[in-house]
Amino acid sequence: MEKKKKVIEVEINKEFCKACSYCVDSCPKECLVMGEELNSTGYNFPVFVNQDDCTGCGACGFLCPDIAIEVYEVL
């Protein structure tokens, strides 16, 4: 039987982001890319582009220095 896949939500608080791109670097599944849009202080924040491959490892949220990312598992 196939294991039920976890549903993961990655929330990016764009106003807290400072575009260091650590999250993009650290995602093992390349689920995040730096976006084009700017936040109110002029930083281009990342976008979550690959919901399917995201394993919910949490790395992006753990390593973001600005606490701009929250990773949730939907129960």
Partner: protein, 301 residues
Amino acid sequence: MRCTNEEVISASPLRVFCILLLEEDVLQREVSKGRKMEDNNKDLRRLISGRPKCFMIAGSPLCAGCQHGTISRIIGEVIDDLGIVGKTIAVGGVGCHSMLVMSASKFDLTTALHGRAPALGTGIKRGTDGKAIVFTLQGDGDLAAIGMGDLINATVRGEKLTTIFFNNAGYGTTGGQMAPTTLIGQTTTTTPSGRSPDTGGFPIHVAELMAGLAGVAYSARCAVNTIAQYKRTKKAVRTAFQKQIDNIGYGFVEILSACPPLLKMRPTDARKWFEKHMFAEYPLGEFKNVDETKIQYQVET
């Protein structure tokens, strides 16, 4: 005097960023959005990674890519995990290293004069009869230069404190000068042609030094570049707190923390520079982990 979060934010080196946020009321919006999100999804979602419970929702006052932020979060997570938010008192040193905790923490905190955090922490620990969990946040200028004596003597007195040491190989707050931890050859604003051993001396290895002191129960050096390092760091910080909780001895963790402006690099490059150069000079690892502090010799009285 109790301070609101907004007041703290106006204190940061990046106050422009934060004031902007405040002026445009963005922060307020985000705060209420965040709260609503929390309320609605309380039971439906499990937080894997993100804001520790003991941190308020606030923008970070640190520069882009400053790993002090990640380290601060680890401290928050450990305090959450240990369930000690109600009796924790943080003592912030002078420097960027204490700024995120200052602006976000829900636990009690105070600020020490430059380098004096272990002495202030000693007073707090004694003042609360040892009941409070007291930890200091210190940078390499604060701890390894001006405050070296305070740290060492706190362990000599057998204080049960925890120190988180942010090693970014320079002075962040004051604009990128040399610190005792600056690498040989590294350029800073006070070593414009690179730190030379002849005139600038040698990098100091505090974690190893601490391991040699009798009052220290735990000493480790960690980093936060990768998720594996992150996990080891969290474990180390947790152990350093546990040594205090169990009344065993001083808990110390040195954490390498990239400061992009100091290196005049983009955040990702700064991180790579750290991997290449800092890890070579400052090996990661646990240097001491004991369950009792041993007495070597005693005079009969």
